[in-house]
Symmetry: C2
Subunit: 553 residues, 2 copies
């Protein structure tokens, strides 16, 4: 009998530890049958949450919670317990959590309440608000295993800088969330924790690599979480779970002190990733960016650029929004086009000008971006996996392999191509005839709706804006409806990417899998103009949803 690979035993222990951190009273009597695809109503109906806890977790965004706490309508403790309970349930039905620290969180919330009662002063804009974090962030005393067995059982000795800043700004941290093995996938599955499921529709992906955040917030087990994105890892799970998500330009939000899958220093020569929010409202994304900006992070992380939120660009008084319909690599499915049209119409109805943008260079972005991934030949991550005999998860098999590190000469050549492409793409920000500035551009997040598990295709729509380093956000438009199933995708495949993508729409594919998923758009702004992006997303959100009513407690 061959000895079992060590990772399996570690995974069993790790999952048992995670389970042990959920109080017995918060365990569901029974798990939903697998035929139940939409599990979002379980927290409301399971009897574990009180009526107030249901209200807190369902009716409010983080901004409303922060305000209610400041106004003493509710305590941070009550809010924190509500979200801990709901996160516990979310974990049981979507497997979205990695590290659980509910007890620490409730203790912190009590302290914040006492402090506020005593001083009348809040720590910052996040005072008392529970926040969740992608597993890559280090929280002292807990693992940052990123789903790799050899990194488990090695509690962090220090917080990541972003964690320190969130705590200083008053946030209550209560859990960390699931990711894909190696972080280089758009489905969040790994051998240590298993697979994160999409709470709206367990047949489609929850997205990745911040998939645990997506599913948790999709369950309203959190309303504000932090993910990271180097290809689409915030924007894709935001789309999959019907959320708002922002990938800032790299080095805008402190990234230092996370567990990664490359040697320290690699991102300085390749493509750096960004940290950013996933949320249930655009104003919560702004709340997050404001809290970071408040902390003057450039004084503490040398990679963070100078400039608070008020220096991050602005939309013109008479805004101009552009549309890019396709990347020239994969042709979007009909409903993806349709929500772009619907958004443009809504904007025009609101009196905002919309123009079509011709971006011939866009089609070169995806392949160049791919060149930058795995510059180190993936050796660091394979060493980590092989240390406990961990094989690749299914989706990665055949896609990721050990290689040799890239030569410097080759890398330098790619950097030169990148500069050329960045220069060409600068043209999209100016209307060619009038010279008028384009404030923001809407385009697909992906060329397809939320894809079935392990079938995501066409990451170029998101990864290109990592190459270009533009801030980019996901904005949910509406649910996929029966009527969306009727349109056909015409023409012939442009290439193998496009062929794969067409297989997610054309027969024999069963389009009904998309029912109940959210159709979203992506919004982009020029490099380092995060405020401009937030303002544009806010305009678009208002145009789509009519009056800008925001949730309140």
């Amino acid at each position: 009998m061959t000895k079992e690979a060590p990772y399996k035993e570690i995974a069993l222990r790790k999952q048992a530890e995670r389970q042990s951190r959920i109080p017995r009273a918060w365990l569901l009597a029974a798990l939903p049958p697998s035929a139940t695809l939409d599990v979002r109503s379980i927290p409301r109906n399971c009897g574990i949450l009180t009526a107030q806890e249901i209200h807190i977790t369902e009716a409010c965004d983080a901004t409303a919670l922060a305000q209610a706490i400041r106004q003493r309508k509710v305590t941070s403790e009550a809010v924190t317990i509500a979200f801990c309970k709901r996160a516990a349930i979310a974990q049981q039905v979507t497997n979205c959590l990695t590290e659980i620290f509910f007890q620490d969180a409730i203790a912190t919330a009590k302290l914040l309440d006492e402090e506020y009662a005593r001083t009348g002063i809040v720590r910052g804009p996040l005072h008392g608000v529970p926040m969740s974090l992608k597993d890559t962030f280090k929280v002292k005393g807990y693992d940052a295993s990123i789903g790799i067995a050899s990194l488990a059982k090695n509690p962090a000795k220090e917080n990541s800088l972003l964690v320190d800043i969130l705590l200083e700004q008053g946030a209550v941290l209560y859990c960390k969330t699931g990711i894909p093995q190696t972080l280089m996938a758009l489905d969040s599955e790994n051998h240590l924790f298993g697979r994160v499921m999409n709470p709206r529709n367990r047949l489609v992906t929850a997205g990745g690599s911040s998939g645990g955040e997506g599913a948790l917030i999709g369950m309203r087990g959190s309303v504000l979480g932090v993910g990271t994105d180097v290809g689409g890892s915030i924007r894709v799970p935001a789309m999959c779970n019907g959320l708002y998500g922002i990938k800032p330009s790299a080095r805008r939000v402190p990234y230092v002190g996370q567990q990664g899958t490359q040697k320290a220093g690699t991102s300085a020569v390749g493509l750096p990733a960004s940290a950013g929010p996933l949320a249930t409202s655009i104003r919560d994304c702004e709340l997050f960016m404001e809290a970071i900006s408040n902390a003057s992070p450039w004084e503490r992380d040398p990679h963070v650029y100078l400039g608070g939120l008020n220096k991050q660009g602005t939309v013109q008084e008479e805004p101009l929004i552009g549309i890019i319909r396709r990347d020239g690599v994969t042709e979007p499915h009909p409903p993806v086009n349709k929500v772009l049209d619907e958004t443009a119409e809504a904007l025009r109805r609101s009196g905002i000008d919309v123009i079509e943008i011709d971006a011939p260079a866009f089609k070169k972005c995806q392949s160049l971006t791919n060149k930058f991934f795995g510059v180190d030949g993936n050796n660091y991550v394979f060493d980590l996996l092989e240390a406990t005999g961990e094989p690749l998860v299914g989706w990665l098999q055949g896609k990721l392999r050990r290689g040799t590190e890239m030569s410097l000469d080759k890398l330098v050549g790619f950097q030169a191509q990148k500069t050329e492409l960045e220069t060409e793409m600068l043209k999209i920000w100016r209307e060619p005839i009038t010279g008028r500035t384009v404030d923001a551009i809407i385009l697909p997040v992906a060329p397809h709706p939320v894809a079935p598990i392990d079938r995501w295709s066409g990451v170029g729509y998101t990864s290109s804006f990592v190459l270009l380093d533009y801030p980019a956000g996901t904005l949910p438009v509406r649910d996929f409806q029966e009527a969306d199933m009727d349109d056909e995708l015409t023409g012939e495949p442009l290439n193998s990417w496009d062929k794969n993508n067409r297989e997610l729409w054309n027969k024999p594919f069963d389009r009904s899998v998309y029912l109940n998923t959210k159709l979203s758009i992506q919004v982009i702004a020029p490099k380092l103009q995060e405020r401009r992006l937030l303002q544009a997303m806010n305009l678009i959100d208002r145009a789509l949803r009519g009056s800008n009513t925001q949730p309140k407690l």
Copy 2:
């Protein structure tokens, strides 16, 4: 008889071409004898300039000239002719020019005068002001040979972006200036154009790599020029010629489209260089930065950061200036220390607080910076040299060689060390006991006064701020005086660098060579805070020079 290496013939033709571009009437009757060390008075006394031309070139900085042109006290044409004449004389006595385009400049100046007379509107803050450029910048129709024969006789097809911007802002470009072979030296000598001489004292170096700018402005053949700096190449020639010079953070000022000595894309993985001003007043450095900022360069060069001058930091209402006395690698000579003390005293007399800064990490900067130079094994530049049989100039022999390009793994390791060092160095910006912010820090530009030709030592004081990417400027304090010769450098050499540096002070070295050179200090501010640096330098300048009288026409 062996055939002569082709570079010699090219150099002869190139120098003849340069000479032919100086009008006969502007040629000196005789060159000064080599015993004449200070040649600065020649333009005034040679009879080539009119009294008004002497006044224009000697009494004004660029700000005053721009103002006089706007106020119609003088035409751009008159100003341009005056500086062309004086530059022609500077060339004859210091060999500071590479490309000469006086005729184009005078034609441009006329056009600008006519336009202004017609419209009453200036193109920008530089309207009508003559500006010089380091040879690395490309001006359409002229070589950007950077002193390498194989690059000569290949006129640029396009302007560098910075050149376009300066022209749009109204500048009149009339010449380009000398540099060292390979740009990797602090003396500006190459086989194509020869050596740039220091106009104050032809026994000491004019500095490099923007040495031609230094000498030209030192002769007042220009009052505002553009250099580039990746180790000290603006700050060193500024010091050598008694000027103000600013190296901004990289990617603040457009750098794109210059002729370099590495493959395109190399700086993206190593240390990027900066472009910045050399000038005769601190307000002219500000004028330059303002003109660049006006042009929103981030909309045209994807490498330039978002943020105009008004977003580049600011000095506190009650400023705090720090002093760093040594880098821990080379011990400064006594007069270098003395001008730091004198500056601190002047500041204190002006009511500005000054504190000593402990920067233990500073000593690690120089050696790490050196690791980043020649990441490509210098192969690109050796290919350029060998194409015409060009040997290395004396100073570079034994210092620069062809190597193999660095492995990516090694480079990534250095990048990680860089991040650690940057993080440690962030501490210098906060007074450790009170937590008060330090606005700017003064320190030596070099551990010695302006060194004799080919003897510059200890580039760590400047190159470290390329590694750290801090904006850094040179500020002239006073001339080296007889009395400065008396102090002794005590203690034992710390290392071989320090030993070399002591040889520039201790006997048998003849300290009298330093007479008539300028002692300067360096001023630094945190990354991307160019306005904060300019404000601090202005404060220091006022404290040193008493009332802030500025030259006027």
